[in-house]
């Protein structure tokens, strides 16, 4: 739609055309029963409010037009009327009861997370989502899902793509028509998992588990955002859910399991410093660069530099502990639960040998395992 067309829609809706087409001026097209109920409830509420609005302001603007001194209006002197006052107290109560009834039904339905077909745990991290398929077909699949829009698009050095800021590297995949229970938690601060088309928004609270559910009736790609302010890149941690047919889902699950098997690490593998640092650079770009920056200069003082930092150049034990457990009270997250021993060893090795840092030291994956055990 052109700007002019949207302006027209804007003006129309302003004048009361509540039935404007869904999608851009209204709630997104619902694809679950709950979202459908919410959509209809909102339409109903809007109509009721509009009616009251027209009635009340019809009276007021008529009065503004007719009862003005310049038209010779003489002021009456009434200032109360018990009957009228009782009526306009009781009638709204009745209207509210009419609104409360469907809302109550939906609230209860939204809370019913029993008997899911598939249970997925979503974990909010600053600033990405981790997913674990806990139960049902696909059990055992786990991955991290981060924004895939290139920084150049954000900074205006490249044209913005169709799904700018609403696209991820690893989308959640679920089968159509199955009840999916989503368990939510967070690693650092509160996030919120929100997919508008599903009518699902649930806070992810660190240290606690909450749950919600959805059953998508249509295949397709549905997008949402983190909906609770979670720090610097709150606006850059979208959610992308692919609803696929059952066969496609089974194929996806098989593919995921095969990939895990193929990339399973040989714990006995001997790494060279170059190999480990190269892998570490990738891990760093995906997990650390948002704060500490690709050049290791950070964004002090909130996000300290690693280039030339004492913690990176000092004894390795301390750095391992910090990366594993995070720093309470700062944005430094605990990566122990997010990354494998090899990835942790790689990224620590990388930071100790990147930019101006040249300790020449290599941290072996086994050292991470030992540090975990010691905790």
């Amino acid at each position: 739609m052109s700007v002019r067309a949207r302006l027209a829609v804007f003006v129309l809706t302003f004048l009361g055309a509540s039935a404007a087409s869904a999608g851009e001026v209204n709630l997104q097209v619902p694809v679950t029963e709950i979202a459908e109920q919410i959509y209809d409830m909102h339409t109903l509420m809007l109509l009721i409010c509009l009616l009251i609005f027209v009635a009340v302001f019809g009276v007021m603007f008529w009065s503004v037009y007719a009862h003005r001194k310049s038209r010779g209006a003489i002021a009456a002197n009434f200032h109360e009327n018990t009957t009228v006052e009782i009526v306009w107290t009781i009638v709204p109560v009745l209207i509210l009861l009419g609104m409360a009834y469907p809302a109550t039904r939906t609230v209860i339905a939204m809370k019913d997370t029993s008997d899911p077909d598939i249970t997925i745990k979503a974990t909010g991290y600053q600033w990405k989502w981790g997913y674990d398929y806990l139960k049902g077909e696909g059990e055992g699949i786990r991955f991290v899902s981060a924004l895939s829009t290139p920084q150049d698009q954000i900074d205006g050095r490249a044209d913005k793509g169709e799904h700018y800021l609403l696209e991820v590297d690893n989308p959640v995949v679920v089968p159509v028509g199955k009840k999916i229970r989503v368990l939510l938690t967070a690693n650092d601060v509160i996030h919120a998992w929100w997919v508008p088309a599903f009518g699902v928004k649930q806070d992810a609270i660190p240290g606690f588990i909450r749950d919600t559910w959805f059953r998508a009736d249509k295949v397709g790609v549905f997008r949402g955002n983190c909906a609770e302010l979670c720090g610097k890149d709150h606006g850059f941690m979208p959610i992308e859910v692919h609803v696929v047919t059952e066969e496609e889902y089974s194929a996806w699950v098989a593919e995921q399991h095969a990939r895990v098997a193929a990339t399973a690490e040989d714990p006995a593998r001997q790494w060279t410093l170059q190999e480990l640092a190269a892998r570490g650079q990738e891990v760093f770009a995906a997990n650390c660069a948002a704060c500490h920056q690709a050049d290791g200069k950070g964004m002090p003082p909130a996000f300290p530099p690693l280039d030339g930092a004492a913690i990176v150049l000092g004894p390795k034990g301390e750095q391992i502990t910090t990366v594993l457990n995070g720093r309470p009270g700062t944005a430094m997250a605990a990566f122990g639960k997010q990354l494998s021993d090899t990835d942790l060893a790689a990224v620590i090795t990388y930071t100790r040998n990147a930019w101006g840092n040249s300790t020449g030291e290599m941290i072996a994956p086994s050292e991470i395992g030992a540090a975990r055990a010691a905790n």
Binding site: T13, N26, M60, E162, R223, G231, G235, G329
Partner: protein, 525 residues
């Protein structure tokens, strides 16, 4: 009681002059003026932040500011507008008007009155100055949710102290107002004869005394979690992040009414004056105000429907919240009934009052829609909510403050405000306000979260419109300053009863109101 001695019978000011006059003054009119000027300055400070936010959001992509600074701006815009602009402005109105309207010579505790004002500038310096410290200002949102607020730098500590100081100032101001209203009314002015502005402020003052300590407690818990090893909001230490939200919103929801009840009071003074007809349903207005205040204590968790409460809790808070629509509706009906069969004229105060009813009611309707828990879960933390609370806070509180300013400026300055500037101010404000905030409803419904510096391409057009509206609204406010400055410096002389049909004790004293008024209490029949 008051620091007014009997030998100051004539209307002039005695004592120190220049700056010392303002620092040492215990006169309610001087203090009221200082509150109002302070609020106006903070309003522009918060406005500059808002326009920077809107400039960044004009187009998709990052152009003007980076995400960290953007979050600092949204946070500080909220804190500055709530604690620096709207609340002090209403206290300024209370200081000027309550003694004049109840026939008292001054506020009950004149020295404490001075102190509660002079706490504000240092608090404001702490707050605004936090932009300059390492790490910048707090970026945790004006709601300061833990654990994000625990991650912040020292700007957060400065904000916490600023909130403490402003809270102390508000509590002192509120105690002063309660004592003044209860003890210093002119003989014959029974409670049910008090002007509605006085009634709304009495109830607001009780709300302030009840909830400001709760806010102080909440931010103190953040402070000790940050620096003294406590774990109120940290699950690893046995705490719960959601506890903060419960405590914050137990303050936060009554706070919403703290910012709107005095606005209801102002509008209830203005409508009868320009309709030339007594206020319809005075008693029901008082009861409605009291019911809103009482209900405000049992609805706080409607800000938290997405935290994952049990169904029964969600239902309780949903029903309680919906109930607030009843007394609020009564008020709107009463105003319309007051206008009905009146003999209306539309000077600037009336324009803003009618504009208030019209636009505030839209905010009321979106509030009702947000009360429905399932719908709220869709729109919570989206631009829909941003639109909703700006409809009640800007078109509600702020428009009422504008209306009240134009209404009582003749009493304060002795000159009539320019109708020409006032009308321009009104029409620009209401048009640009709607241009800025109406599209935000669509953005929120379509799925744009709030507090994000950048957004998907489908939100681009409405954001551009909103930014244009916001800049128009911002620059329109220069007209307000112009109107005030012109009125203070000269203009048509105002009579004691500056508006034809104005009722109330404040219109029995000369304009401008002399430095000391009602040293001998008037008799109210």
């Amino acid at each position: 009681m008051a620091a007014v001695t009997p030998d100051q019978l004539h209307g002039h000011h005695h004592g120190p002059t220049g700056l010392m006059r303002w620092i040492t003054t215990t006169n309610h009119k001087d203090i009221g003026t200082m509150y109002l000027v302070f609020a106006l300055i903070m309003f522009f400070a918060g406005g500059v932040m808002a326009l920077t936010i809107r400039a960044e959001l004009f187009q998709p992509g990052l152009q003007v500011v980076q995400p960290e600074f953007f979050n600092q701006l949204t946070t500080m815009h909220g804190l500055v507008m709530v604690f620096g602009a709207i609340m002090p402005a209403f206290v300024g109105f209370a200081n000027w008007q309550i003694p004049l309207m109840i026939g008292a010579s001054d506020m009950a505790f004149a020295r404490m009155n001075n102190w509660s004002f002079w706490l504000l500038p240092p608090a404001a310096l702490l707050l605004v100055g936090s932009f300059l410290v390492p790490g910048g200002a707090t970026a945790a949102g004006w709601t300061l949710y833990a654990p994000l607020s625990v991650q912040m730098g020292m700007g957060m500590d400065m904000a916490i102290f600023a909130v403490h100081i402003m809270g102390a100032s508000s509590i002192m101001g509120a105690i002063n107002i309660v004592v003044t209203i209860l003890n210093m009314r002119a003989p014959g002015m029974t409670m049910m004869k008090m002007p509605l502005f006085v009634w709304t402020w009495l109830i607001t003052a009780y709300l302030l005394i009840a909830v400001m300590p709760v806010l102080a407690g909440a931010v103190t818990m953040i402070l000790t979690d940050r620096h003294f090893g406590t774990a109120f909001f940290n699950a690893a230490g046995g705490g719960d992040p959601v506890l903060f939200q419960h405590v914050f919103w137990f303050f936060g929801h009554p706070e919403v009414y703290i910012m709107i009840l005095p606005a209801f009071g102002i509008v209830s003074q203005i409508i009868p004056t320009f309709a030339r007809k007594p206020l319809f349903g005075y008693a029901s207005m008082v009861y409605a105000t009291a019911s809103i205040a009482i209900l405000s204590f049992v609805v706080w968790a409607h800000h938290m429907f997405t935290t994952g409460m049990p169904a029964a809790t969600q239902l309780f808070f949903m029903y309680a919240t919906m109930l607030i629509a009843v007394p609020t509706g009564v008020k709107v009906f009463n105003w319309v009934a007051t206008m009905w069969k009146g003999s209306m004229t539309f000077e600037t105060p009336m324009l803003f009052a009618v504009g208030f009813i019209f636009v505030f009611t839209m905010g009321g309707f979106t509030g009702l829609i947000c009360a429905i828990a399932p719908i709220d879960i869709q729109v919570q933390d989206t631009y829909y909510v941003v639109a909703h609370f700006h409809y009640v806070l800007v078109a509600g509180s702020l428009f009422a403050l504008f209306a009240g300013t134009y209404y009582w400026l003749p009493k304060w300055t002795g000159h009539m405000p320019s109708e020409k500037i006032g009308k321009w101010h009104f029409w620009c404000s209401i048009v640009f306000f709607n241009l800025a905030f109406f599209p935000m409803h669509f953005l929120g419904l379509a799925g744009m979260p709030r507090r994000i510096p950048d957004y998907g391409l489908q939100f681009a057009d409405f954001n551009a419109i909103a930014t244009i509206g916001a800049f128009g609204f911002g620059f329109s406010q220069l007209l307000f300053v112009l109107a005030i400055v012109k009125c203070a410096r000269g203009g048509e002389r105002a009579a004691a009863r500056s508006w034809e049909a104005a009722e109330g004790l404040e219109w029995t004293v000369p304009s401008p109101a002399p430095h000391h008024t009602f040293e001998e209490a008037p008799l109210v029949r």
